[in-house]
Symmetry: C2
Subunit: 152 residues, 2 copies
């Protein structure tokens, strides 16, 4: 077998290859959608998370995303400037903050959920509903080994 064959076989049998490609496509689609809200992908993700789980610390958010602390910090800078979230004092520690969605932030929830739904529909357009559900299940299984779920 030639090197080309080896490599081709490796690639076409590689989940990672397709996941990376899909992720890039998703980034593109999300960027399209988020332009209307003037949110970066990171800000969007954090805002969604904060609406879902109000009053988390930045470290808590980071853990959930596997997003580095400085990225959280800067994304929240932007969201705070735009009045979508606030950094409230943590009751038990003066160095941690509770990140809370403002009313303005929470008001975006339906729109943001719609964005996700649209992108998702686009992504799964080639799969039957049953197969799409199964796909989701596999994604969750694969990821669950590296993450927790639910609020705090």
């Amino acid at each position: 077998m030639t090197d080309a064959d080896t490599v081709r076989q490796t690639r076409t049998a590689s989940h990672g290859w397709y996941i990376q490609r899909l992720a890039r496509q998703l980034d593109l689609w999300m960027a399209e959608e988020l332009a209307a809200f003037d949110l970066t992908h990171g800000q969007f993700a954090i805002l969604m998370m904060v609406i879902e789980c109000d009053g988390q610390t930045q470290a808590g958010i980071g853990q959930r995303f596997a997003m580095p602390p400085y990225a959280i910090s800067r994304a929240i800078d932007g969201l705070e400037t735009r009045g979508l979230v606030t950094r409230a004092p943590h009751p038990g520690s003066r160095r941690a903050h509770l990140v809370r969605a403002t009313d303005a932030g929470r008001a975006l929830a339906p729109d943001l959920a719609a964005v996700v739904a649209r992108v998702n529909a686009r992504l799964t357009a080639g799969l039957s509903p049953e197969r799409a559900t199964d796909f989701l299940d596999m994604l969750q299984t694969t990821l669950s080994r590296a993450t927790q779920d639910g609020c705090s």
Copy 2:
């Protein structure tokens, strides 16, 4: 239903969410592996592609990856400097180049394939072989709507 519920439901039902998270995890794992070869993720991807399909133009490579031209250009700069690929003249056009793997580049094929195999094993560790195959099939289906496959 509260906004938190809406958002939570949206997220947990979103393929995109999990794909993005998985992609980030993969990036981390790949970075770990590629440190040994001193290759960026982009250089790795292009080198693999060039070994698989020798003598493509940069535009051809870019199309296959959905990678922007300047990223290709700079990644190949790095690979060329390190003697892993060359820019050969295109027979029919003086502005296009044929990107070819050198012997040194091709020599990395087994190692690079092994990297992919290891990362992939890690990724699918939670799935049975049958389910892993099915998962791969779904990824291909989902992506195929946006890509071509094979050489030239």
